[in-house]
């Protein structure tokens, strides 16, 4: 094992990234591109919405990620009777000291998996808004700061619509990207089955994690990746053109533009570059725009591709 648990010194960044890649690829077979996107999302300090059918590994991926980055992991199974306090936490009266004690909810974890988020009521969904945007929650007029590496992975099932509450646009805009895992390839499924033989707890992680502070350090490095003015101009032009497109329900917001740039920086970082190139922007365009332009799933890819075609790439 390269990374020692709770090592006193931070390992080189390349090693940390390779470790994260390896851990995620070991858990989810044949989805290296998705893994790269998930990594880009977490390095950009964004939140991830996984939209896929049941049993494709959404929860497994979230758990593996939480374990690998070395933080606390919490899971909330969203149901219609889930209350906001079940997520943010609540105060209970302590008989001993005759005072109210705050019991923190699952948002105080480093990685929060909100499973089937569209099954809970909008009221409860909104409880996540403050936590996702500002990394803090306010309970009983007291503000509680969350972990600096707080990361939400929400999942939703696109098929079952009965008894669901689609996420409001305001909340969708707080996710950095939306991904779909999709079915693995035949070879990957064969490999998966082979590895399951004789292993009673095949999804258990290896226990290896990044040393504390490594993720934060990586996120700081991503924020420092250079974006030259002409690349920024390209990004802004792309953002502006979405606002005039008749097929787009909701044009890209300035917050969305900021997230797009940060995700592109993370992508460049993952590629080992110190600067962003237009390719980074194009590669992350689909997951970043797919979550916030209000496009139907079936036409999302083609609309985003046509938007990318409209602006000439600067050289």
């Amino acid at each position: 094992m390269i990374i020692e648990k709770h090592s006193a010194h931070l390992p080189p960044m390349e090693d940390s990234l390779d470790f994260l890649r390896a851990e995620l690829n070991r858990t989810i077979k044949g989805k290296s591109e998705i893994v790269e996107m998930v990594l880009a999302c977490i390095l950009a300090r964004g939140h991830l919405l996984l939209e896929d059918l049941p049993g494709l590994g959404k929860t497994t991926l979230a758990k593996a990620l939480a374990t690998a980055v070395g933080g606390n992991f919490a899971r909330v199974q969203c149901t219609p009777d889930l209350l906001p306090g079940d997520i943010s936490g609540f105060s209970v009266f302590n008989q001993k000291n005759r005072e109210f004690d705050f019991l923190p909810g699952p948002v105080f974890a480093d990685v929060l998996l909100a499973d089937e988020i569209n099954r809970t009521t909008p009221r409860t969904q909104s409880a996540l808004l403050e936590a996702m945007a500002e990394r803090q929650v306010t309970v009983d007029n007291v503000r509680h700061t969350l972990s600096p590496t707080f990361f939400v992975i929400a999942t939703q099932n696109p098929v079952e619509h009965h008894g669901t509450y689609p996420l409001p646009e305001a909340q969708l805009d707080r996710f950095a990207m939306k991904l779909s895992l999709g079915y693995p390839g035949r070879e990957d499924e064969l490999l998966m089955l082979g590895e399951a033989i004789g292993d009673i707890n095949q999804f258990a992680n290896t226990g290896a994690t990044l040393p504390p502070g490594t993720l934060e350090s990586l996120q700081r490095s991503v924020a420092a990746i250079a974006v030259e003015p002409k690349v920024r101009g390209y990004l802004v032009d792309l953002g502006r053109i979405t606002r005039g497109d008749s097929r787009v329900a909701l044009g890209l917001s300035p917050r969305g533009l900021l997230i797009w740039q940060r995700v592109a920086q993370a992508k460049a970082f993952l590629e080992g570059r110190t600067f962003v190139i237009p390719d980074d922007i194009q590669v992350v365009a689909e997951p970043v725009l797919g979550v916030r332009l209000g496009l139907p799933n079936e036409s999302s890819r083609s609309v985003i591709a046509s938007i990318l075609q409209k602006i000439p790439v600067p050289i």
Binding site: E228, T274, F275, I277, D279, L308, I311, V313, P314, I315
Partner: protein
């Protein structure tokens, strides 16, 4: 420390330019309000001052001015020269050429004054302003001129003093800079060589004018931009040869005209003016018209005892802007502006008188022809058909003219030559007409009244067909049109033989004679014989210049010496230059009086032979197809004459067209190698541009929305493209990398760039594409 005189010197130079501009305005507008001129100059001066303030002064006044500034100066000088034709065309008024040139110099002077931060322009401003002052002082008699000259003199003296102190500024320096002076600021070299060259050029020009061939002198002379100096008619000219209309419009229009007339009448030589009077009779008077109008007795109108008012202009107009007449019923006379007004294609010859016998000095008018005019009346008032003699094979095409007679020309009926059809007013009787001389129509026993129109239809001889005509001079019976002073015959015959050379008899010989005269002799309308030089023909041959009647006389005598019957004809040359587009007519005045020669065709027709330079016999209108054909064959023959040059040019043009992409590539590679840019990034970006061009020339350009990485990797996927993959990373760094980052690959940058330049050429891209498509 010496004060800084530079700004003062500059301002003084600009002031000199403005004063000279004022004197130019005075000279140009002449008699108009001088305050208006001052207003104009204030405008020009303000513009110059604004430019003076805006143009940044150079670091050193001795610096060479930038190309942009020089170009703008030249542009300012060109403005009047470009604007004047536009003004003449659109506004119908204009300035004489010399004034336009002076305007051009004025602009240059002001522009130089405005840019006087450069020593060169400051000196030019002063020099041009001095020239302008001298020139305008000579041509201008305005009382304000003296004052302007005085101001200029004072300002000029001040400028000289300031320049003196300014130049001393280099010596009168503060003590701290004294050491610098000792180290030696190189003194400006005086342009001795330039002066020597200028003096040499001037000496050559003066020497050539003084002792060179007369041709050179006259050629240089006509190039001088004075009014009429080129011999061309300029309607905006003020004085000199060929005075324009402006002179007549002046306050004292008679001054020039009367002087010329007086000199003419005093001359002992035959007076053209008298001849015109004799030929054309008295001017038109309405009371001479013998025509009565029957009135209806019941009509309340009464016949007026007053003479009806004249309107001798060729067409009528009706203005919609009117005020009520002060005395209704009385109109105004509209005076004629010409003898005739011709409607139709010009040039046109109108015959008036023909001469046959020549005694060495004087021509005698040929006797009137006794033959009846062969007129055949056409029905329905369509005039007469002229019955022609034999031999009409050399005519091609026909023309129609309408001649409006505004002044009675006596009994003459002005018609176009080679007449085929005629209609004179409402005359329907052939016996109204008779021949003066053959081909010259007149009214029998009466005057031709003014105010009538003569409709003519005529044929035009084609010189090419004439050359094919049987035109043998020896078969012609001797008559008055072959007479020559007996003692002249051998000498003239020899001269004529020398001029015609070995040409075929007939029209080729006639053409050779006229061509010789047109090419070797010069038309000088002002040259006349005097008492001291009575023999005009002798001096005509000595000077090789003279008026048109000497050209015509010479041609006639030469043709007669060769045995061709010829006659001298006077009449009018209707010049296309006088065409008035407003009325659609060409006025014919006494100034259009002209002499020419005519030779008789064996068929009996008199053919016009024009030997005076500047006059042209009308040619049949050639169809466009034939013109194009002639131009094509002319071009081909010229190309054949210069076949080597044409071949070389064709080869070069074809080569450029064929290897255009290779030439462009060569240019790009050269540009990248010679001008690689300020740093590594710039160089790499240039190479990226070159690669883009190469893929474009190879037929597979980068699409606008294709990223650099995508595009380069699409080529770099092929085996053996390692250097392109390396270059792709470099290109990304050069295009999107921040300035402080080091290039990926470090020391290999140069090698990679060199490899890309030499390996990934247009043909490599083309081959790679073929390979990719082959795999697909």
């Amino acid at each position: 420390m010496a004060p800084d005189f530079a700004p003062l010197v500059r301002k003084n130079a600009l002031f000199l330019a403005v004063i000279s501009a004022y004197s130019v305005e005075l000279a140009a507008t002449d008699s108009s309000n001088p305050l208006l001129s001052l207003l104009w100059v204030s405008l020009w001066g303000t513009i110059a001052w604004v430019i003076f303030c805006l143009v940044p002064a150079p670091i050193s006044p001795k610096n060479n001015p930038s190309l942009k500034v020089t170009f703008l100066l030249i542009l300012s000088a060109m403005v009047p020269l470009v604007f004047e034709p536009v003004r003449r065309f659109w506004l119908g008024n204009g300035y004489p050429l010399e004034i336009v040139v002076i305007f051009s110099l004025r602009n240059l002077c002001l522009a130089c004054g405005a840019c006087s931060g450069w020593n060169l322009f400051m000196r030019m401003a002063c020099l041009i302003s001095l020239f302008l002052m001298l020139f305008t002082a000579i041509i201008n008699t305005h009382p304000f001129m003296m004052g302007v000259l005085g101001i200029y003199m004072v300002a000029g003296a001040c400028w000289l003093m300031l320049v003196y102190w300014y130049e001393l500024g280099g010596i009168l320096v503060v003590a701290e800079r004294f050491v610098d002076l000792e180290e030696g600021v190189p003194l400006e070299k005086s342009p001795t060589r330039l002066f020597l060259v200028l003096i040499l050029v001037m000496a050559v020009i003066v020497g050539m004018l003084a002792s060179g061939p007369q041709r050179a002198m006259s050629t240089l002379w006509v190039l001088l931009p004075t009014s009429g100096g080129t011999g061309e008619f300029d309607p905006f000219a003020r004085g000199g040869v060929n005075d324009g209309d402006m002179e007549v419009k002046g306050k004292n229009a008679n001054s020039t005209g009367m002087t010329e007339t007086d000199q003419f009448l005093e001359s002992p030589l035959p007076s053209l003016y008298d001849m015109v009077n004799d030929t054309f009779g008295e001017p038109f008077k309405v009371k001479d018209q013998e025509q009565s109008i029957a009135l209806n007795p019941s009509d309340k109108n009464r016949e007026s005892q007053e003479t009806p008012k004249e309107n001798l202009r060729p067409n009528r107009e009706f203005s919609t802007q009117r005020k009520s007449p002060p005395n209704p019923g009385k109109g105004k006379d509209v005076k004629a502006r010409a003898l005739f007004e011709v409607e139709g294609r010009t040039p046109l010859y109108l015959r008036a008188t023909a001469f046959d016998l020549f005694d060495g000095i004087q021509w005698n008018e040929a006797p009137f022809s006794r033959e009846p005019v062969p007129l055949e009346k056409k029905p329905e008032g369509r005039g007469f058909q002229i019955t022609k003699k034999q031999g009409w094979g050399y005519f091609a095409g026909s023309e129609k003219h309408r001649i409006k007679i505004t002044h009675s020309p006596g009994s003459l009926v002005p018609t176009s030559p080679y007449l085929t059809r005629l209609k004179v007013g409402k005359v329907d009787q052939a016996d109204f007409f008779s021949w003066a001389q053959e081909g010259i129509l007149r009214m029998a026993h009466r005057k031709t009244p003014a105010g009538i129109t003569v409709d003519c239809e005529s044929s035009l001889p084609d010189p090419k067909l004439l050359e094919l005509e049987n035109f043998n001079p020896h078969e012609v019976v001797t008559d008055a049109y072959l007479s020559l002073p007996p003692q002249w015959k051998p000498q003239w015959t020899e001269m004529a033989r020398n001029w015609i050379g070995e040409r075929q008899p007939g029209w080729p010989e006639v053409s050779a004679l006229t061509n010789h005269l047109r090419n070797h002799f010069e038309w000088d309308a002002a040259l006349r014989g005097t008492v001291d030089r009575p023999d005009s023909l002798e001096h005509f041959f000595q000077d090789q210049r003279g008026p048109d009647y000497l050209f015509a006389t010479t041609t006639t005598l030469l043709l007669r010496s060769l045995g061709y019957p010829a006659r001298l004809v006077s009449g009018f040359y209707v010049s296309p230059e006088n065409y008035d587009s407003w009325s659609g007519h060409t006025p014919v005045t006494s100034r259009d009086l002209h002499f020419w020669c005519e030779v008789r065709h064996p068929g009996g027709e008199w053919l016009i032979v024009e030997s005076t330079p500047g006059f042209f016999v009308p040619q049949p209108d050639v169809p466009l197809g034939l013109k194009v054909q002639a131009a094509f064959f002319g071009l081909m023959s010229q190309a054949w004459e210069k076949k080597i040059l044409v071949f070389l040019i064709t080869f070069i043009v074809f080569g450029i067209w064929f290897w255009w992409k290779s030439i462009q590539e060569l240019f790009w590679v050269f540009s990248v190698l010679v001008f690689p840019g300020k740093d590594e990034k710039a160089r790499i970006r240039k190479i990226v541009q070159l690669l883009e061009k190469r893929t474009q020339w190879a037929g597979h350009p980068r699409h606008g929305n294709q990223t650099l990485q995508n595009w380069l990797y699409s080529w770099a996927r092929q085996p053996g493209a390692e250097e392109l993959r390396r270059f792709s990373r470099l290109a990304q760094w050069a295009s999107y990398g921040p300035g402080n980052h080091v290039p990926p690959g470090g020391a290999q940058v140069q090698e990679t760039c060199r490899a890309i330049l030499s390996v990934w050429t247009t043909s490599r891209f083309r081959n790679e594409m073929k390979r990719i498509q082959g795999k697909d």
